[in-house]
């Protein structure tokens, strides 16, 4: 047992002596958490996209004008879009093509005429393919506006037909479909005579939200889950270097068993990982006010389990790669796949559904899920199964590494 601790202490000392590597391992995650929190922090906070869009009204009648007024005077729309009312449709199209405008609405010149004739009237929404998300929101806004117009027209036509028709019969041929004879409006938005379209109202219910995890807290959890695994890569480097420099062979010639050597090396990775986790925990708390939750013991145990997974990964990588260069190739691939599957890059629920069953193999998934639960007020009992899953993955990787690794 003493030998095991000696090996672990030696590995830790070597790692700590390499100041540059240590700085990379400790400072980079904090940097990335900051980048992610800043980059994505505004999402969902008021949906403030501030996107540039344009409206071109070519309609010879009055309907187009009312559309423009309706869209430009709504406060909720104004909060999301900077709307420019423009004249030249070709110029606007070119601006959307270039990405200078996110989207545009082109109102055709015969809009009023078509509505009067009772023909369906299309409005054209142009979207920049390079800004699909924001342009999609603009299309939704325009659709809500046209629904209003359509509802007025449908109501007007239905009334006109019913009032013009004899009781319990369909509309007679040639009935005035415009609604004029029924004394109702054409139904353009904002028209003075329009029907009240308030039979169905949409009300928002207040939901008492559970403790919300801010974007920066989410990524603090996510990056911790991912970066602790990178400790495994450095552990594998150390193993391979010792193998190349024959110091591992020397260790084998001592009375220490291979189990002690593997255990000592794994423990070394875990000690460095624990230090890394401590810095992440304290650093994110102090710098970004991340609230990791009240159950500190549970947070530490989740971190410990992930560090165990990192130690297992170190041994598995040392077994798979012959040289540092090979490990430098395989390790990021493994870690990033684990991270992508686990939701460290984009939230896990946005991944395709067929992929979700594979998440159970990612220690990052269980770790992020645990941290998030704890941040939302969960306790050790809630995350115990997750801790078990991460530890099991770590032990499996360690077992594979110990079985396959070569010492010379």
């Amino acid at each position: 047992m003493r030998n095991l601790f000696t090996i672990a202490a030696k590995d830790t000392r070597i790692m700590v002596r390499d100041r540059a590597a240590l700085l990379v391992m400790l400072a980079m995650p904090l940097g990335l958490i900051f980048i992610l929190g800043s980059a994505l922090g505004n999402l969902g906070e008021g949906d403030s996209l501030d996107a540039e869009v344009a409206i071109v009204n070519q309609d010879a009648g009055e309907t187009g004008e009312r559309f423009v007024d309706g869209l430009t005077s709504a406060e909720e729309i104004d909060a999301v879009f900077n709307i420019h009312v423009r004249e030249d449709a070709d110029e606007v199209r070119t601006d959307v093509e270039r990405g200078d405008l996110t989207a545009a609405l082109i109102i055709p010149e015969d809009l009023t005429e078509r509505i009067t004739r009772g023909e369906p009237a299309p409005l054209e929404v142009l979207q920049d393919p390079g800004s699909a998300v924001t342009a999609g929101v603009w299309a939704a806004v325009v659709r809500a506006g046209v629904a209003q117009a359509s509802a007025q027209i449908v109501a007007g036509h239905t009334l006109a037909e019913a009032l013009a028709a004899p009781p319990s019969a369909g509309p007679p041929p040639g009935a005035d479909a415009s609604g004029a004879s029924a004394g109702v409006s054409h139904g353009y938005p904002g028209e003075a005579q329009e029907l009240e379209l308030d039979a169905v109202r949409v009300t928002e219910l207040e939901v008492e939200l559970e403790k919300q995890v801010s974007m920066i807290s989410y990524y603090a959890a996510a990056m911790s889950g991912m970066f602790l695994l990178f400790g495994g890569m450095f552990g594998a480097f150390s193993f391979v270097r010792e193998r190349r420099e024959q110091t591992l062979a020397r260790m084998i010639s001592t009375p220490s068993s291979t189990a002690v050597i593997v255990g000592g090396k794994a423990l070394g990775v875990m000690l460095i990982g624990a230090l890394q986790f401590l810095v992440l925990l304290v650093g994110t708390r102090m710098l970004f006010q991340v609230d990791w939750g009240a159950d500190v013991l549970a947070v530490v145990l989740v971190g410990f389990a992930e560090v165990l997974a990192a130690a297992g990964l170190a041994m598995a990588l040392a077994a798979l790669g012959k040289t540092e260069r090979a490990i430098g190739g395989i390790a990021p691939a493994f870690i990033m796949l684990f991270a992508a599957l686990g939701g460290a890059m984009i939230p896990a629920e946005q991944l395709p559904s067929w992929l979700l069953p594979a998440q159970v193999f990612s220690p990052v998934y269980w770790t992020i899920d645990s941290f998030l639960q704890l941040m939302q007020g969960g306790a050790l009992v809630d995350v115990a199964p997750n801790i078990g899953a991460v530890a099991a993955i770590g032990i499996a990787l360690l077992g594979f590494g110990a079985w396959r690794v070569r010492y010379e």
């Binding site: 590597a21 990379v24 391992m25 940097g31 980048i35 800043s38 980059a39 994505l40 969902g44 949906d47 093509e97 270039r98 990405g99 009772g118 009237a121 409005l123 054209e124 929404v125 979207q127 393919p129 390079g130 800004s131 699909a132 659709r143 809500a144 629904a147 359509s150 509802a151 027209i153 449908v154 109501a155 239905t158 037909e161 019913a162 009032l163 009781p167 319990s168 009240e196 039979a199 169905v200 928002e204 559970e210 990178f230 890569m233 480097f237 540092e324 260069r325 090979a326 430098g328 190739g329 395989i330 990021p332 870690i335 992508a340 890059m345 984009i346 629920e349 946005q350 991944l351 395709p352």
Partner: protein, 392 residues
């Protein structure tokens, strides 16, 4: 001298091929991630947005609310109870729930029905979904308004339900006014073009990101040679320092070019990404970016002491640059501050240039500025790297 440079570049290729794991890491991984993220960002194509639907009224009218949400492109309803919906929204597991309370149909006939919406403020899709529900409410209101007037006129002897259905039928197949949304690309001026798929963002992003892995891995070889002493041996041979460095740079550029070519070809033929819109413009941006990535890798090689440090630093630096540069998610969704920050990175300029060229089909003219900026990055970083790199 040229022969020596090419020999050194060839040596680089041999070193690379000897490490199949590295090759797999820089080619297979980005393709796998392109597939994963492509599905996530393919708006409305792969993963529809889940909307919880609570029907407490259980009538034709309440069911119509659900049907109309479900018929909306990119939305998918999932039946739930009020309690479940509250719990899921409160926990952030669902973004939006739509509830049709008991008595909805009767209230509709009276002209005072309500559709309730629960929204988690952190939901990215909340705004769009509420707009859709508002549109549905408007449609039903219009139908009901007409039906109420007719039903209230005794002489017409008409039933509310019948008139409502007659009015609702007028929304099909097309409502009187409708919006046709389409993505526009510069097809008229630039010949054939393909509308970009959801995987395009991912294909561009991961190609840009993983080129850095390749340049870091390849340029880091010089540190390996330094550690193993082979660089010192090379120095005693009649080869100048400039030749050795040029050979290394050429080798790195060639390796990254082959990698980029594979990623682009698989993206184009495997995932339908319109990389071929304007090959010259793509070559300009990617070529300049490969030079910038090589410059960055040489500079970092000069700043670290060992290959281990380089291997450890490479995923971190490239991931940070990928995040800031918009390789993982579209730059349009990040804060204005981060959009500006993207312009300080080579990854950001590569993504912006390729978005113009591949997504928007804007051609060589749009590729000029990003190419020149990337060449500027390449010159500065390569200059610093070459000046600072120690051979012993």
């Amino acid at each position: 001298m040229m022969r020596k440079i090419l020999s050194l570049a060839w040596l680089n290729a041999v070193q690379l091929v000897r490490n199949p794991a590295e090759v797999v890491g820089v080619i297979v991984l980005p393709l796998a991630l392109t597939m994963l993220f492509g599905s996530a960002f393919a708006a409305g194509q792969a993963s529809d947005i889940r909307v919880l639907f609570v029907d407490e009224d259980d009538t034709t009218y309440s069911a119509q609310v659900g049907e109309l949400i479900d018929a909306e492109e990119s939305l998918r309803i999932e039946d739930a109870t009020r309690v479940d919906a509250e719990t899921e929204i409160a926990a952030g597991d669902a973004g939006v729930a739509v509830l049709v309370p008991r008595g909805f149909a009767d209230a509709l006939e009276r002209g005072s029905a309500t559709i309730e919406v629960m929204r988690n403020p952190n939901s990215q899709n909340g705004f769009a979904i509420v707009s859709v529900v508002q549109g549905i409410a408007t449609r039903m209101s219009g139908n009901a308004a007409a039906a109420r007037v007719v039903a209230a006129t005794p002489a017409l002897k008409a039933d509310f339900d019948d008139v409502y259905q007659t009015a609702d039928a007028k929304w099909s197949p097309r409502p009187p006014v409708y919006a046709e949304a389409s993505q526009v690309v510069a097809s008229e001026v630039r010949g054939d073009s393909v509308i970009a798929e959801g995987t395009t963002q991912s294909s561009i992003g991961f190609t840009v990101w993983f080129i850095l892995f390749m340049t870091f891995g390849s340029a880091g070889g010089i540190l390996e040679e330094r550690e193993q002493g082979t660089l010192r041996r090379l120095m005693v041979a009649p080869v100048s320092r400039t030749t050795i460095l040029t050979g290394k740079v050429v080798g790195t550029v060639l390796a990254a070019t082959v990698q980029a070519l594979i990623l682009v070809l698989v993206g184009a033929f495997g995932f339908g990404v319109p990389w071929g819109n304007d090959p010259l413009a793509v070559v300009m941006v990617l070529g300049a970016y490969i030079l910038a990535g090589t410059g960055l890798a040489v500079m970092v090689s000069a700043l670290v002491r060992t290959r281990d440090q380089m291997s450890g630093l490479s995923p971190l630096v490239s991931t940070a640059l990928a995040m800031v540069g918009g390789c993982m998610w579209p730059l349009e969704i990040v804060s204005p501050f981060m959009q500006t920050a993207a312009k300080l990175t080579p990854t950001g300029w590569a993504v912006m240039g390729l978005t113009d060229v591949v997504f928007r089909n804007q051609g060589v003219e749009a590729a000029m500025v990003p190419t020149l900026v990337l060449l500027g990055f390449a010159g500065v970083m390569l200059g610093i790297g070459v000046k600072m790199l120690k051979f012993e």
